[in-house]
Amino acid sequence: MARLRWGLRLPAAAVCAASLAGGCARAADAALIAAAQKEGEVVWYTTQIISQLVRPVSAAFEKKYGVKVRAARANSTEVSVKIINESRAGRPQSDVFDGTSTVVPLKKEGYVLKWLPDPAKAYPAQYKDPEGYWVANNLYFLAPGFNTRLVPRGSEPRTYQALLDPKWRGKMAWSTTATSSGGSGFIGTVLTEMGSESGMAYLRELAKQRIANVGSAAREVLDQVIAGEYSLALQIFNHHAVISGKKGAPVDWIKMEPVTGTLSVISVHKDAPHPNAAKLLVDFIISTEGQHIFRDAEYLPADPTVPPLTPALTPEGGKFRTRFFTPEQTEDAIAGWKKIYDDLFW
């Protein structure tokens, strides 16, 4: 196992060897591993879906290092809120956290450790924070999904304008979460793409379609579409549709351009109760080995050397255009998008 990992991490090791006097990564690793094992566990506040990704990642990490992973899931904003509350109370509970924009408010409050794992050095610049507070662990592409039993293939709406067709009235749903994967995120993409004036005009029309606001993760919205509660789910993760489709669910996603692109990024809490185990977990997730687990779970790895299982899910493989948002861009604008969402879609 160790040899495999060493081999796969060659680019990072090469950088390391070139800059320092050689062998540094291994030495640091050994010390880190020992310290992490002494801590025994790591608490991971995640926005990832537990059953799809967190379980296989945790299992592999526990098997490799013998350090127990405790994961708790909520959406990006809720994770920030929890960490802010706990940190203000002087009782930070989390070691590691991820999310599309979780890190930004936490950075402002000073709760994030400025640290990047070695494997991040091989990542493209746009996949890590220039200031060194976060690194991407996977890419997200958000688009509509549809129930293939209720909406025969070929009759699904393919453009934003097509969503205004009265036949979809009352048949669409999205998540209420104030994140990229909710109604607010959809609004953000529309406004960025169409400009604020025609964007707002479009949204006012869309509001007449009475989209159902589901107070849960986009994953659950898609599940309700699979169940047949709604025909279309807006702003869902395209790989979720593929995961369910492979299990036999009547669902597919729509390449509606522009697709919203964003990152899931991961960081370590500055006052992590298990600082070494935290670093070890992030190191593992960002490593080529960890990224292969993401890939095998049908997630889209951030590591450019690990190709996705289904290339059609990415802009290059699927040949679709995206509107890309960094965590900071999302966080800066989300309050405004949420306000429009509250005003128009309630």
């Binding site: 537990i50 405790r70 509970q93 408010p105 589901v214 599940d223 699979i226 169940a227 047949g228 509660e229």
Partner: protein, 591 residues
């Protein structure tokens, strides 16, 4: 008296006449044991005040603090009151609560009347339904009914098949749909409470009406309903207040249908942006608190009258059941429908979903997907820890709340010095909706240098506050049945206050205390709104985990875990009911 399963949380003690008004009694407290009693009163006042008052103060403070500038201001209230959302949400809360209370009462009262007053067969079905429902987390029930009545659920599926349209007959994501689900949710409790009242009501007047030639309907309309009107009003007020505070149904069924209520607005203020809008949430909470306060005042007036009516009828008797003739089969059909709607269908739906990898309507094709994978996942060490946590929290809460209120009720019912203060303090938490108390306790522990945040202890802390009034209700109504001459004779023989409490009052009160303990235990194990904002990664309760599973897109695992948990809790609820009945029988025998 069956008040041991009666949770109506009025302030029962002080406004009632003492059982025995001998002039000499008042001097008890000036005798030997007065010192011990004062010590106990002082201790309780300090403990109760320390529990109850700080959350209230911190909530009030947060509501009048401008977080951005760090200065006192009413800006939070201005923002809340100035938004058109506030008016809509308040109106929705009231409509939702009124509708739910009416529906729960109609279902509960009719069922209770059939069970208590007629010769209808299959009565045990109603008890089975009610008891199992006592152990089931609301969140699980709500998920189940959403699946049953959802657009893709069997009811609408059947309608579409029959009508040939693609329409729905029930839109669950609407105000009527929400009222239906919330009404269902409370109907078992309404049944148990209405049943207790009907069982205790004197049937002589009804019998007189029937002897005078009145038919069944006439008797019900002109005698039974009139007699129980005060208790019906009091009961509907109780469900009304509970529904104003409800969180599960508005979150799951209200949001998709764009029906916002106060609780979902408060929750969204606390989680929908980082950092959270604590000021806005607190201001909204304070307004909601004021609303509940008004409702409680109305409820207090109503239940006072209810008591008056109840005391008219305290004799031992064996009411003769109405002979419904052929109608009893219709009544039995109602009981079966009740059983299907409130128990069998939701459980069957959850079982179906728990066997699937993703939600699918019932169909032959979907049978091929059936798997036990969810159960394999659910039987994990993490979930064992979760079950242990929940049982720990519920046990600790029930034990502490009952211990405190046992002593408080004794001081209050026996009119000890400061007994009134103790009683008032223990009933203050009634004003807190669960979610609001959660925010208040959170504020408290975010500010205090006591490192309890994120532990099980903070959950117990909040739950104890929440259930003090219920413990008080159980203890005080039990205490009222124990004549003080027993204590007096012990005192004359030289027994101290401690000895009297431990050797006389506690053993006699045991059934009522046990019933109260189990009631609090079951509530603490099933409610979501209080722990949802307080639970940390290591301090989850089952209800919070079930909600998380739903909101995180693990609905099929939710069904599997929820069913296992409900089976466990149904067993505990059955014990609860057995004890409550026995203590009721014991009380009747004494009378």
């Amino acid at each position: 008296m069956t008040s041991s399963i009666d949770l109506v949380p009025a302030a029962p003690a002080t406004h009632r006449k003492p059982l025995c008004d001998d002039a000499g009694i008042e001097t008890i407290w000036s005798r030997l044991s007065a010192y011990q009693t004062r010590l106990l009163a002082a201790f309780l006042i300090v403990v109760l005040a320390a529990l109850v008052l700080p959350p209230l103060l911190f909530l009030l403070k947060a509501s009048v603090l401008d977080a951005q500038r760090g200065e006192w201001s009413l800006v939070n209230f201005e923002v809340v009151l100035g938004s058109r959302r506030f008016l809509a949400s308040s109106a929705n809360s009231l409509v939702f609560a009124a509708g739910s209370a009416a529906l729960a009462l109609v279902i509960g009262w009719i069922t209770a009347w059939i069970v208590e007053r007629t010769n209808t067969p299959l009565k045990s079905l109603a008890y089975l339904t009610a008891i199992i429902s006592l152990g089931t987390p609301y969140i699980l029930y709500v998920t189940a009914w959403l699946l049953v009545f959802g657009k893709a659920g069997p009811v609408n599926q059947l309608y579409r098949a029959l009508s040939g349209t693609s329409d729905v007959v029930i839109n669950i994501y609407s105000m009527p749909g929400m009222i239906m689900v919330e009404g269902f949710l409370w109907s078992p409790l309404a049944f148990l409470l209405a049943g207790a009242t009907l069982r205790n009501a004197n049937p002589e007047l009804e019998e007189a009406a029937r002897v005078s030639g009145a038919g069944i309907w006439q008797t019900i309309r002109r005698v039974t309903l009139r007699l129980s009107l005060p208790s019906i009003l009091a009961l509907s007020m109780l469900v009304f207040i509970r529904a104003v505070e409800a969180f599960e149904v508005p979150a799951l069924a209200g949001l998709p249908g764009r029906v916002s209520v106060l609780t979902t607005d408060i929750y969204s203020n606390m989680v929908a942006r980082a950092p959270p809008d604590v000021g806005g949430a607190s201001a909204l909470s304070v307004l909601m608190l004021a609303l509940v306060l008004v409702l409680l005042a109305i409820y207090g007036r109503l239940s006072r009258h209810a008591d008056k009516f109840a005391t008219v009828t305290g004799k031992g008797f064996q009411p003769r059941p109405f002979d419904l003739g052929r109608l009893r089969y219709a009544a039995a059909a109602m009981l079966v429908a009740n059983f299907l709607l409130l128990l069998l269908v939701p459980v069957a739906m959850l079982t179906w979903v728990s066997l699937l990898p993703f939600y699918q309507p019932l169909s032959a094709a979907a049978f091929d997907l059936v798997t036990l994978a969810n159960y394999r996942t659910v039987f994990s060490p993490d979930h064992v820890g979760l079950i242990v946590n929940t049982l720990l929290v519920a046990t600790a809460t029930a034990t502490i709340a009952v211990a405190l209120t046992f002593a408080a009720a004794w001081l209050s019912v026996r009119r000890a010095p400061c007994g009134w203060a103790v009683e008032r303090l223990a009933t203050v938490p009634l004003v807190f909706p669960g979610l609001v108390l959660g925010i208040a306790v959170m504020q408290l522990f975010l500010r205090l240098p006591i490192p309890l945040y994120g532990t099980l202890a903070i959950l117990v802390w909040a739950f104890v506050i929440n259930y003090l009034p219920y413990g008080m209700r159980y203890s005080a109504s039990g205490m009222l049945q124990i004549h003080r001459e027993l204590e007096e004779s012990a005192e004359i023989c030289g027994a101290s206050a401690w000895t009297r409490l431990a050797r006389i009052v506690a053993p006699l009160l045991a059934p009522a205390l046990l019933a109260g303990w189990l009631f609090i235990f079951l509530m603490a194990a099933r409610v979501l709104s209080l722990p949802i904002l307080l639970a940390g990664p290591r301090s989850q309760t089952m209800a919070v985990t079930l909600f998380d599973l739903w909101s995180n897109g693990q609905g099929t695992e939710l069904a599997a875990l929820g069913l296992i948990w409900s089976a466990l809790m149904a067993m505990i609820a059955a014990i609860f009911y057995g004890l409550a009945r026995r203590s009721a029988a014991g009380a009747l025998a004494r009378a």
